[in-house]
């Protein structure tokens, strides 16, 4: 695969350029892990201090919507992983279709998430939009605050990912992004998409499955 890759300055060989691409993206992803890590720390400490209240609050969340959304993101990650393999083989249209499918699944996730927020608003459980006195106790209110911040921050990341993939699809269709010459662009963008998926893999049990 490497001999068909375009090498840019200052790199001398494709393997070195590939290592630099992956290294840079992984270091950026480390900063994302630290960003979400803080939220997980708050969540675990909160759970440690108020085990009963947090478990009761978690049971009020829509477990099945969250579960379906997890399945949607896992499937979208499969589509991105397939796109990277196709890009290395140079099948331009198939890569575009695969990335478009992943972006569409991502959009499906956001729509379902919006439906879920709407249901929580109806239940009077959405901080900032529902009256504070409706929460069973302060710990429940705190948990729902963390839930809202964590899921909105994740949704923002997912939206960026959707725009990123849509941009790649656009460039592939206009032939301004060529595969397999620049397959690394697909691979590195894929890393971001997969990390957003991994964050949800942890957010789902940490928020919805507290028992």
């Amino acid at each position: 695969m490497t001999e068909r890759v375009q090498v840019h300055e200052p790199f001398v060989d494709p393997a070195q350029q590939h290592a630099a691409d992956m290294l840079g993206m992984y270091i950026f992803l480390a900063s994302e892990i630290m960003l979400f890590g803080g939220l997980f720390a708050v969540l675990f400490v909160c759970r440690l201090l108020h085990p009963q209240e947090i478990a009761a609050a978690s049971k009020e969340l829509h477990l099945w919507i969250g579960g379906i959304n997890t399945a949607i993101l896992l499937t979208s990650s499969l589509a991105v992983a397939i796109a990277v393999q196709l890009a290395r083989q140079g099948s331009r249209r198939a890569v575009a279709i695969s990335l478009a499918a992943a972006a569409a699944l991502g959009a499906g996730f956001l729509i379902l998430k919006a439906v879920e927020y709407r249901l929580e608003y109806s239940d009077g459980l959405l901080p900032g939009f529902s009256t504070a006195s409706k929460f069973a106790n302060p710990a429940t209110h705190l948990f729902m605050n963390i839930y809202l911040i964590a899921t909105v921050l994740h949704a923002v990341h997912l939206s960026i990912g959707i725009l990123l993939l849509a941009g790649l699809v656009w460039k592939l269709l206009r032939r301004s992004l060529q595969v397999p010459k620049r397959a690394s662009v697909i691979a590195v963008s894929g890393l971001y998409w997969h990390l957003v998926d991994v964050i949800w893999i942890f957010l789902y049990p940490a928020l919805y499955l507290i028992r």
Binding site: L23, Y26, A30, V45, L78, Q85, H194, Y208
Partner: protein, 90 residues
């Protein structure tokens, strides 16, 4: 097709683990539930990192960069919980 098939197996494994973690949430409570759900999530994350995020094909340097953030986060979690997890309940 031969490069796509392993990816589909990984996806099937991820979906099975999702089903497992949901099932476990109905059966387990308390610390056991936390350990199980986070354990399953970790296995899922390892599958995604290893197969979808190309760590299988990469050398030691990239693998090290990939786990650096998580390793630091675990250190911070350990330090924070050294306080919260050892407080007396009185």
């Amino acid at each position: 097709m031969h490069v796509v098939r392993p990816l589909i197996f990984v996806w099937a494994a991820l979906m099975s683990l999702l089903a497992l973690t949901i099932a476990a949430s109905f059966a387990l409570t308390g610390p056991l539930s936390l350990v199980t759900s986070m354990g399953v999530a970790t296995v899922k994350a390892v599958l995604v990192y290893w197969f979808f995020m190309h760590l299988r094909e990469e050398g030691g340097l990239i693998r090290l960069a990939a786990i650096a953030g998580i390793a630091w986060l675990m250190i911070f979690f350990f330090l924070a919980l050294a306080d919260y997890a050892t407080r007396s309940s009185s």
